[in-house]
């Protein structure tokens, strides 16, 4: 970075034009907001695709206003793009790009990210990756139809939309690599004085491990993406076995490739990716729980070690997605064992969070409600994963709605609730105003009920074996008869969920303009630096007038003998007089 113009100082800020300030900004807070707004729009769009699919599933063949009856081709496009958009363009950018970008430098006491211009580039790669993905709807025969997993041989012989999907992924992977390098360097190099690794807020730890997962797991998928591009554009046969016959007759390719190779490379990324989806969420929830129970996080160190362990193990469990590929018992045993082992740290973190609740005088605000909602929902998601991790039970459940139910419990009422919690929690930091609590409650309770209405029946439908990705939801299968009526329940719930997002959208935009102004900078009386030391919101350019020095761990709430019930990290306390504090600090 060149000196002086690497990022904006306060006095140069007013000279910058609109584009420089809001579009080509190098300020991590602006980039965080760019990520946030873009990702929320993508989430809404991906949700919309899913609503159309649910409409079709509840009443197959019905005419949808403006769109007409869905064709199977459209259904497949919507399905593939729903998954892709939600994972790669919605949740990860929101959790990492938005929350990570905005909060991490503030929490560690850094003036910005380590490489502000790379940070900007990362957003722009993401944005254009999204544009490529969306524009694939308009190419001949439409967007990719091979699912978010893009399994060959189907994906190899798919229509042009699949090529767009691959180029879009290349852009998104580039974006997340730039971001990951930036996060890791920032966290290692730019911690304020006294901010040792074991004084980092748990949210920062979660982002740190997440960045490592993105850094090391994405490249093999990029490699696989290049190979699939070669298959499609250069007519190679990396993923095409010999003697393949399609509806149009035998394929004229050399053959000799392996579809399983794609699955290995894909899941080598995609299992760590599911932890990318969940770790930042755990981080957000931890911050909010500690703040609203006014207690130190129970077992902070244990949680940190668990998250490191999770990150490490997430690289060697991937083939639990491939139990029915004809895998032998030896290797299958290996992956079953690692899968069972990796559920331990998840349980540790969840338990630590629950124990944190014990004996706290809990402040119930909307952020806290969403964080509380996360706990049981993530619990259901994780527990339903266990039968999937064991081959004998996975074989009948694989590729059924049970799997869809499992991971949606983790990601939807799990991660997305945590993200909502984060929005309600950090909104006053960004805008200097609070969001409306009543609308927030409506949003929470409505969403909680609707989410369960959508995803619980999926678990029930999956058990008799209703397959995922069916255009008619399983109408033609006799074993599905008994559970078909749940399709209506789920679809109605999905529209109810949409309805209950309206209070959020209204609340969000209204509060930006008219929300109640916060009385003090540290609105939630929090101990972490982004609240206690950073300037009063809305923060302009630059983070701290002077970089604070950190004296103790992140969650010194209710320290016995201390004047207030929270002691910010940059305020020295004499820990020798306090037993509780000492045990946290040690």
């Amino acid at each position: 970075m060149e000196e002086g113009h690497s990022h904006s100082d306060a006095h140069s800020a007013h000279k910058e034009g609109f584009w420089r300030r809001y579009w080509f900004s190098t300020d991590h807070k602006v980039i965080g907001l760019q990520y946030g707004f873009t990702a929320l729009l993508f989430l809404l769009f991906g949700f919309g695709l899913m609503l159309l699919m649910r409409w079709q599933l509840a009443s197959p063949g019905v005419e949808i206003p403006l769109l007409g009856a869905l064709t199977p081709e459209m259904y497949n496009q919507f399905g593939a793009m729903h998954g892709t958009i939600m994972v790669f363009l919605g949740i990860v950018p929101l959790a990492v790009g938005a929350f990570g970008n905005y909060v991490v430098p503030l929490q560690i006491g850094a003036p910005d990210m380590a490489f502000p211009r790379l940070n900007m580039a990362s957003y722009h790669f993401y944005f254009w990756g999204g544009v490529v993905m969306l524009s694939s709807f308009f190419v001949p025969e439409g967007a990719a139809k091979a699912g978010w997993t893009s399994y060959p041989p189907l994906a190899d012989i798919e229509t042009m939309g699949q090529t767009m999907w691959l180029w879009g992924m290349v852009l998104l992977i580039t974006s997340s690599l730039l971001g990951a390098v930036n996060f890791i360097v920032t966290i290692i190099q730019l911690r304020a004085e006294g901010m040792t690794f074991f004084r980092l807020p748990f949210f920062v730890w979660a982002q740190f491990i997440t960045a490592f997962l993105l850094l090391l797991a994405f490249p093999p998928l990029e490699a696989a993406g290049f190979l699939q591009l070669a298959d499609r554009l250069l007519d190679t046969s990396f993923f095409l076995p010999s003697g393949l016959v399609t509806a149009d007759g035998p394929l004229e390719v050399a053959g000799g490739g392996s579809p399983l190779l794609w699955q290995h490379l894909f899941w080598f990324l995609a299992h760590p990716e599911v932890y990318v989806l969940i770790l930042p969420a755990m981080g957000i929830v931890s911050e909010i729980l500690a703040n609203n129970t006014r207690k130190p996080l129970w077992g902070y160190r244990l949680m940190v070690w668990s998250v490191i362990f999770l990150g490490f193990f997430s690289f060697i469990v991937w083939a639990h997605h491939m139990f029915i590929t004809g895998m032998g018992t030896t290797i299958s045993a290996f992956f079953q064992i690692t899968t069972m082992i990796i559920s331990i740290p998840s349980v540790v973190i969840l338990s630590a969070l629950m124990i944190t609740l014990f004996g706290g005088s809990i402040r119930f605000n909307t952020a806290m409600w969403f964080a509380l909602g996360f706990l049981p929902m993530f619990g259901i998601g994780g527990l339903t994963g266990l039968p999937l991790g064991l081959a004998p039970t996975d074989i009948p459940l694989h590729d059924t709605y049970y799997v869809i139910g499992h991971f949606h419990y983790v990601v939807a009422p799990g991660t997305i609730f945590a993200l909502f919690a984060g929005i309600y929690y950090w909104f006053p930091k960004v805008t200097g105003r609070t969001m409306n609590e009543t609308l927030g409650r409506i949003h929470f309770w409505g969403s909680l009920v609707a989410m369960n209405g959508i995803f619980f029946p999926m678990l029930i439908q999956g058990m008799p074996g209703v397959s995922r990705r069916l255009f008619d939801g399983g109408l033609t299968y006799s074993f599905a008869e008994g559970v078909m009526h749940y399709n209506v329940v789920m679809s109605v719930s999905a529209f109810i969920l949409l309805l209950f997002q309206l209070p959020f959208i209204i609340n969000f935009f209204m509060s930006i303009k008219r929300g109640k102004k916060v009385e003090k900078s540290n609105h939630w009386e929090s101990t972490t630096l982004e609240w206690s030391a950073a300037p009063t919101p809305p923060i302009g350019h630059g983070n701290f007038a002077t970089i604070p020095t950190v004296y103790h761990g992140p969650y010194e709430y209710s320290v016995p003998g201390y004047e207030s019930d929270y002691c910010p990290q940059e305020v020295p306390i004499d820990l020798s007089t306090s037993d509780t504090a000492k045990s946290v600090e040690s």
């Binding site: 290692i188 093999p220 399983l260 060697i316 083939a319 590929t325 895998m327 030896t330 290797i331």
Partner: protein, 114 residues
């Protein structure tokens, strides 16, 4: 590399670079020469990989200064190395296991047909 390098240090480094260059050139000649012997596959592979590893190590240690690099960087590389090794081992393991299953299945099927 340490910031506080003196002129003398740099000159010493330059000598090392030239030596490493010569070693790399010789090893390249050796690996090509060995390939003209047309050894059976396994020994050929082992020799080629061994020589490549030595060459790569020379480049990494001396040209990329890993020999005197800081701990953080070694940790980063170690993590990549571990995951890479895991990937290779499990890819190969999965493949071998799958082959075994396929052979077994063919055996069972053929015995049923017969």
């Amino acid at each position: 590399m340490a910031e506080e390098m003196t002129l003398e240090d740099v000159k010493r480094h330059v000598k090392v670079y030239i030596t490493v260059f010569i070693a790399l050139a010789i090893l390249t000649v050796v690996t090509v020469a060995v390939s003209y012997l047309h050894m059976p596959f396994t020994p050929a592979l082992l020799v080629a990989l061994a020589i490549a590893t030595v060459k790569a190590a020379l480049v990494a240690l001396y040209f990329m200064h890993l020999i005197s690099e800081k701990q953080v960087i070694l940790w980063v590389l170690l993590s990549a190395g571990v995951f890479l090794a895991g990937m290779f081992a499990l890819f190969l393991g999965a493949h071998a296991d799958q082959e075994a299953v396929a052979t077994l299945a063919t055996l069972i099927l053929s015995s049923h047909v017969a």
